[in-house]
Amino acid sequence: MRGYILKRLFSIIPVLLGLTIIVFLIMTLIPGDPATAILGSYATPENVAKLNRDLGLDKSIVEQYFIWLSNMLQGDFGRSYSLNRPVLDEVLERFSATLILSGTALVLCTLWGVLIGIWTAARQYGWTDKILTFIVLIGISIPSFWLGLLLILLFAVQLRWLPASGMYAIYGGGGLLDLAKHLLLPSLTLSVVATGVIARLTRSAMLEVLRQDFIRTGRAKGVPERQILYRHAFKAALVTIIPVIGVQAGFVLGGAVYIETVFQWPGVGRMLVQAISQRDILLVQGGVVIVAACYVLFNLLADIAQSWLDPRVKT
């Protein structure tokens, strides 16, 4: 087990490297001269050349990459020119808000998705199955940013039960309860699509497992049907469900971009959108690298969870 974890830990190094290469390549593909883009079209050639030198843009692309990478490894992600502060500080501050939001959403979608999946599989072709499957289909098809607006209209504007935006109340806010109130709508909205995806997959994984011979053995032993469903079948189905939850973590982290914009949640997603419209490339770069790295780590966790569950993959 420990050997497996170590092996997996090492195996993410090339993935992380590849990730930085892709981000770097995308960023160097910017059409035109970045220095001109930053300084504006009225900049003097001397200023452009100086900035190019300062940014290290006169070096070869490979050299540039390694300079960029080693800076990053030392915690230097550059300076955001629109906010005039170090990128890393800004990103880390925003990232904690994003983690709270998407972490809650991930817990919600895992819980509900798995439960709905098991229920529908257990009652295949029954009414519960048909109704829930249809609701799940709606959940998958609904644009989350629109659902967010509808929820704001209903719960914040009409009923005035919950706040419409932000993470804490502006006056007299703070504390867990305040956070929970602000978190409820956005995390729910963010979890809807992933709930649908996980529910669908859980259903089909459960149906697949329930046809296996070892389920028949369980029944032949006289194991009660609940236990067949929740212990025998679910444990075996989890082996296929866990990687999907890992992938959904990516969708939730990405979907946070919309939800943070709709609910004005002070997270990385909203920061990225603002940074893009202000052409603050370094900020975009830093945000993307950190969120993507977090996603890679999360998938690593999913892999380890799976190996812990399934003794057959240990080696």
Binding site: T217, A236, I276
Partner: protein, 629 residues
């Protein structure tokens, strides 16, 4: 795909009502959108400050107006047009590039494959939307750039899927044949590979186009897609959002449209996938119920007997679509306490189905018990409620299955599985159950049971696994054990050990044993009586020694002839010519007649009853060999 298959796929698609509904809604939307320039609607960009923020159902403006007084209906139709064009273009670009990459990787294999798939995996390590954002960040906001971003982000998905399929095809005979005929790689890809991966590409597009429409709308919503005055559904929603409180209709209307489009695309996509994926046809993914469906018109009358288990006229059918497979077509069996009954027959003769029917373990759907009774101590098991049946399963009657690797749960230790078997029927503590489990493992001669109890099934050898299966069957001291070919998956020496073990245990515990096999040698070694099954019916039954010495049914004779004799026997080893009949199209008369060298005209007429032969035997044959009985 030929025309025939295409037709049946289309028929299947439209049998799925939801998919049909999606198709209709989608076609209506597409028709309206295509006809946009001809429709009597306002110009979408015509501003009119006097008519700002009119509510829906205002005169002249069915869906109201936005903050610049532009007609929302017209903007909705034109916006939908734009969103659809962008979403569909993105999926076509992604599919084309992705399929190209996938085919190249899959067809050429080796280092090309390795290199390409590494890159694809790297791209997939990104959260999707984030990568799209990075691309838009570089290219700058704009609808075309958003289209590229969404397309690029989806390429890995297509590449991976198509590669998988291509690898499967690249080494098939027809591709090899094309290679040998001197065709170049690219021509082979064009003429042999592409037509075969096309259905997969279609499935992949149909499942992703909804997402792509949604994602481009999302980017526009964030202000990174279409720029004013041009508006797609996403940017309409984004503009509407700013007026959420004063004019909610401005954001509700475009959102409903996105939802309707994505929903109907998804419904249609599910339908397409179901229609093209053969695995999903004919309810192959149906979940077996906890107990076989029972659909009997009458229950056979009880016959007084002192048998422990008495099976009468058992009919178990498999109903697959229009076809009915009569796997068990009227089986009568009797097992006395402590007796070992062998059931023998070729594969597909219905032995296992019969055995599983006794406790309602036949998978259903498609299995259904149509007639008969199974009486344990005179009480019909097919009439009891589920809870009673469950309390009998594994406690009074237990099973040993054929392949213990597939029939033991792969993710629980054998100890856990045995403890569970014990605690299902008895209120004992975990510790007591553990002690009992260790004793049982000792009983079945597993060396060092205390250590082995923590093993997983995959860590044991086949023989050891089957011993665990036997130990588990013994867990609650049953009266009857049903062993369904327990030694078939094992090699010969292990087979002999397991048989000896079963034989010993049976005698020690006075167990009744129903032993299912296709090997008369095993029957001779183990069973008191034997029942020979053919095409779902018992064709001969009687004491093992008598039947071995003087088989009455021609089929029994042939089966016995199949057993090789050790030490240079005098018999000639012979296979039985022909195949058993398909049980959905049984011939009239005797099912064995087509393969029988004693068959006469009357064998092919009516139905055959069993006739007693001697005191303890019966045979279902019109011309049995009865000389010596």
């Amino acid at each position: 795909m030929n025309m025939e298959a295409l037709k049946s796929a289309l028929a299947l698609l439209f049998r799925n009502r939801l998919a049909g509904f999606g198709a209709v809604v989608l076609s209506v939307v597409v028709l309206v959108v295509l006809a946009a320039p001809l429709l009597p609607i306002h110009h979408p960009d015509l501003t009119n400050p006097a008519n700002r923020l009119l509510r829906p159902f205002s005169t002249n403006h069915l869906l109201g107006t936005d903050h610049l007084g532009r007609d929302l209906l017209s903007r909705l139709i034109w916006g939908t047009r734009l969103s659809l064009v962008v979403g569909i273009s993105a999926s076509i670009i992604a599919a084309a590039v992705g399929a190209f990459i996938g085919i190249v990787a899959g067809f050429f294999g080796g280092r090309t494959d390795n290199l390409i798939m590494r890159g694809v995996d790297m791209l997939m390590a990104f959260p999707y939307i984030l990568l799209a954002l990075a691309i838009v960040a570089v290219l700058g906001p704009g609808l075309i750039n958003a289209l590229y971003a969404v397309a690029v982000v989806n390429i890995p998905f297509f590449a991976r899927n198509i590669r998988g399929v291509t690898v499967g095809i690249a080494h098939r005979e027809f591709v090899d044949a094309a290679r040998l005929s001197g065709m170049g790689s690219w021509r082979i890809i064009w003429s042999e590979i592409l037509p075969n991966v096309l259905p997969v590409i279609v499935i992949a597009i149909s499942t992703t186009v909804g997402w792509m429409i949604l994602e481009t709308a999302g980017l526009s919503f964030l202000g990174l897609g279409s720029q004013p005055p041009q508006a797609d559904l996403g940017s309409m929603l984004g503009e509407g959002r700013k007026l959420l409180i004063n004019a909610p209709h401005a954001s509700v209307v475009p959102g409903v449209m996105i939802f309707v489009i994505v929903m109907s695309v998804n419904l249609l996509g599910d339908g397409v996938r179901d229609a093209l994926d053969p695995r999903l046809r004919s309810g192959a993914l149906a979940r077996p119920a906890p107990v076989t469906r029972i659909d009997r018109e009458t229950v056979p009358e009880k016959i007084e007997s002192n048998a422990l288990l008495d099976v009468q006229n058992l009919h178990t059918h498999f109903e697959v679509g229009e076809r009915v497979y009569k796997a068990a077509g009227g089986v009568d069996l009797r097992v006395d306490p402590g007796e070992c009954l062998g059931i023998i027959g070729e594969s597909g003769s219905g032995k296992s189905v019969t055995a599983l029917s006794l406790l309602g373990l036949v998978a259903s759907p498609p299995g259904v018990i149509k007639a008969g009774s199974v009486r344990l101590d005179g009480k019909d098991l097919l009439s009891t409620n589920f809870e009673t049946l469950r309390s009998i399963r594994g406690s009074r009657i237990s099973y040993i299955f054929q392949d213990p690797l597939a029939t033991l749960h792969p993710l629980y230790t054998i100890g856990d599985q045995m403890i569970e078997a014990i605690r299902c029927h008895r209120p004992v503590s975990k510790k007591e159950a553990m002690t009992k489990a260790i004793q049982l493992l000792e009983k079945v001669q597993i060396p060092n049971p205390k250590a082995r109890i923590g093993s997983y099934p995959h860590e044991m050898s086949g023989g050891m696994r089957q011993r665990v299966g036997i130990a588990m069957a013994l867990a609650n001291e049953p009266e009857i054990i049903i062993a369904d070919e327990p030694t078939t998956a094992l090699d010969v020496t292990v087979q002999a050990q397991i048989l000896a073990l079963l034989s010993d245990l049976r005698r020690q515990r006075d167990l009744a044993l129903i032993f299912i096999t296709h090997d008369f040698g095993v029957v001779a070694q183990l069973c008191d009586r034997v029942a020979v099954m053919y095409a779902g019916k018992i064709v001969e039954v009687g004491p093992t020694e008598e039947i071995l010495a003087h088989p009455a049914h021609p089929y029994t004779m042939r089966l016995i002839d199949c057993v090789p004799e050790l030490g240079g026997g005098k018999r000639k080893l012979s296979a039985i010519a022909g195949l058993p009949p398909a049980v959905d199209r049984l011939p009239d008369g005797c099912a064995f007649a087509p393969r029988c060298d004693r068959a006469e005209e009357d064998c092919r007429l009516g139905t055959l009853a069993t006739t007693p032969a001697g005191t303890s035997r019966s045979v279902r044959c019109l011309h049995p060999s009865l000389e010596q009985i």
